[in-house]
C-alpha cells in the first residue's frame, strides 16, 4: 500500500502543478461594437491618467491556485484599462493625444472568479472627461460578466483569464454608449476651443 502511495504521489504532484500559473492579462483587443459606437462620436479624445482606488486589486487576481497579473505596461490593471481605452480610440480613429478632451479613470472594482459551473468577473471604474482641464463628465460604471466554467482547473482557469478582457470591453462599451458621455463629447466638440 505504501509503495502504491509513493508511486501515485509524483503522478498527482505532476498533474496538480500544471494548474499553477501567473500569466499577464491577454493583450486587449478592441470590440467591434465599441468601434461602431466611437465612429459615431464627432470629437477626438486623449487619454489621461488611470489609477486604482484604495483596496482594489491592481497587481494580481487569484483564480483557484493561479493568478492573473495586471497586463498593463507597468504590470497593473489600471494601466491595462488605460491601454484598453487607448486601443479602442486608436482603432476607431478617435484618438488625439493633444485633444482638449481627455479621459481619465480610477479602477473602483476588480474581481475574477472561476466558480464550478459559472465564472464571473466584475470590473468597475470612475471615468472623468475633462475639456481644457475642466471636468465635463464624471460617472462610475460597473461591468459584470459571466461564462460557463468547469470543475477541471485546466479548463476553468484559462477560461477565467480569457474572459477578463471581455469584461473590460463591456465596461468601455457602457462608457461609449452612456448618453451623458456622448452628450459631453458632443457639447465639447461644438464649443469653441
Amino acid at each position: 500500500m505504501k509503495g502504491l502511495a509513493r508511486c501515485l504521489a509524483p503522478v498527482l504532484l505532476a498533474l496538480a502543478l500544471t494548474a499553477c500559473v501567473s500569466p499577464p492579462a491577454p493583450k486587449y483587443q478592441p470590440a467591434i461594437d465599441n468601434t461602431n459606437l466611437l465612429i459615431k462620436q464627432s470629437a477626438k479624445l486623449g487619454v489621461g491618467q488611470f489609477s486604482a482606488a484604495a483596496g482594489v486589486s491592481n497587481h494580481s487576481l487569484a483564480v483557484r491556485a493561479s493568478e492573473l497579473t495586471g497586463g498593463g505596461s507597468d504590470g497593473t490593471f489600471s494601466t491595462y484599462l488605460h491601454d484598453a481605452i487607448l486601443t479602442e480610440l486608436q482603432t476607431s480613429g478617435r484618438y488625439d493625444s493633444s485633444s482638449p478632451l481627455q479621459i481619465s479613470g480610477v479602477l473602483t472594482r476588480n474581481e475574477l472568479s472561476s466558480g464550478i459551473g459559472t465564472g464571473t468577473a466584475k470590473v468597475g471604474a470612475e471615468f472623468a472627461l475633462t475639456r481644457n482641464n475642466a471636468v465635463c463628465f464624471k460617472k462610475t460604471l460597473l461591468a459584470e460578466h459571466e461564462w460557463d466554467s468547469s470543475f477541471i482547473g485546466a479548463v476553468a482557469i484559462p477560461a477565467a483569464f480569457g474572459n477578463y478582457p471581455t469584461t473590460v470591453q463591456k465596461l468601455l462599451g457602457q462608457l461609449f454608449a452612456d448618453p451623458d458621455f456622448v452628450a459631453a463629447v458632443r457639447a465639447s466638440n461644438s464649443s469653441p476651443r
Binding site: G3, K27, Q29, I32, T35, S92, W147, P165, T166
Partner: protein, 207 residues
C-alpha cells in the same frame, strides 16, 4: 537504509514519472475539416469593378463571448484572406475615414458539447484507448457597411477532432490542427465575401 533499497525507491519514482509523461502520447489529437462547405480558392471569387479602400475589423468569439487571445492569434490570417480576395482596395485595421467602407468579420466558435464531458472523461481514464470525436462549429458573420447601407451574411463551417484511439471521419484526411484552422478561416472569409458580392454589396461604390 541500504543503497539497493534507495535505488529501488528511486526507480519506482522515475517509472511513475515516466508513465505519467509517456501516456500523454496516447492522447493524439487529429484534425479534419468538415467537407460540407465546398472548398473555393481566392481565384474563384467574383471580380469587383472598383475595389474600395476598406477598414477590416475582426473579432473571435467562444460561445458568444469575445476571445481576446484567439482574436489576436487569428486577425492576421483573416486580414490576409480578405486581401487575397482581391475584392478591396487598400486595407486598414484602424478607421481613418468614419464615412469609409467598413468590413466587420466575427467568427463564433460554438462547440458541440453534448456529452463532451463524459466522452472526455472516458478518453482520459482509458489513456486514449476509448477515443472520442469532438465537433467545433464556427459561425462567421460578415457585415459590410458603405455609403450608409449595411449588408450582412453568415457562413457555417466545422472542425472535427479525434482524440485518442478513434477512427477518422469517413473519407477525410487528417491535418495538423493549425493547418485545419487556417483552411477553415480562409473558407469562411471567402464564402462570406462571395455571398456579400451576390447581394451587390461591393457595387455600391462603383455605381
Amino acid at each position: 537504509m541500504g543503497i539497493s533499497c534507495w535505488l529501488s525507491r528511486s526507480l519506482r519514482f522515475v517509472v511513475a514519472l515516466a508513465v505519467c509523461t509517456g501516456v500523454t502520447g496516447c492522447m493524439t489529437v487529429k484534425s479534419y475539416v468538415d467537407p460540407a462547405l465546398p472548398v473555393i480558392s481566392n481565384t474563384q471569387l467574383p471580380k469587383v469593378q472598383q475595389p474600395q479602400p476598406t477598414t477590416v475589423l475582426f473579432e473571435f468569439k467562444t460561445k458568444g463571448n469575445n476571445n481576446a487571445r484567439a482574436t489576436s492569434a487569428m486577425s492576421g490570417r483573416v486580414v490576409a484572406a480578405v486581401a487575397q480576395s482581391g475584392m478591396f482596395g487598400q486595407l486598414s485595421t484602424t478607421v481613418s475615414d468614419p464615412n469609409g467602407a467598413l468590413l466587420s468579420i466575427t467568427i463564433n466558435n460554438v462547440a458541440d458539447t453534448s456529452g463532451a464531458t463524459a466522452k472526455g472523461v472516458g478518453t482520459g481514464l482509458t489513456l486514449g484507448l476509448a477515443g472520442s470525436l469532438v465537433t467545433d462549429n464556427y459561425i462567421c458573420t460578415a457585415t459590410y457597411t458603405v455609403a450608409g447601407k449595411s449588408y450582412e451574411t453568415t457562413v457555417h463551417h466545422a472542425l472535427l477532432s479525434t482524440i485518442g484511439n478513434h477512427s477518422a471521419p469517413q473519407g477525410l484526411a487528417p491535418m495538423a490542427p493549425r493547418d485545419a484552422m487556417n483552411q477553415i478561416v480562409d473558407q469562411l472569409v471567402w464564402h462570406a465575401l462571395a455571398q456579400l458580392d451576390s447581394e451587390s454589396a461591393f457595387r455600391v461604390g462603383s455605381l
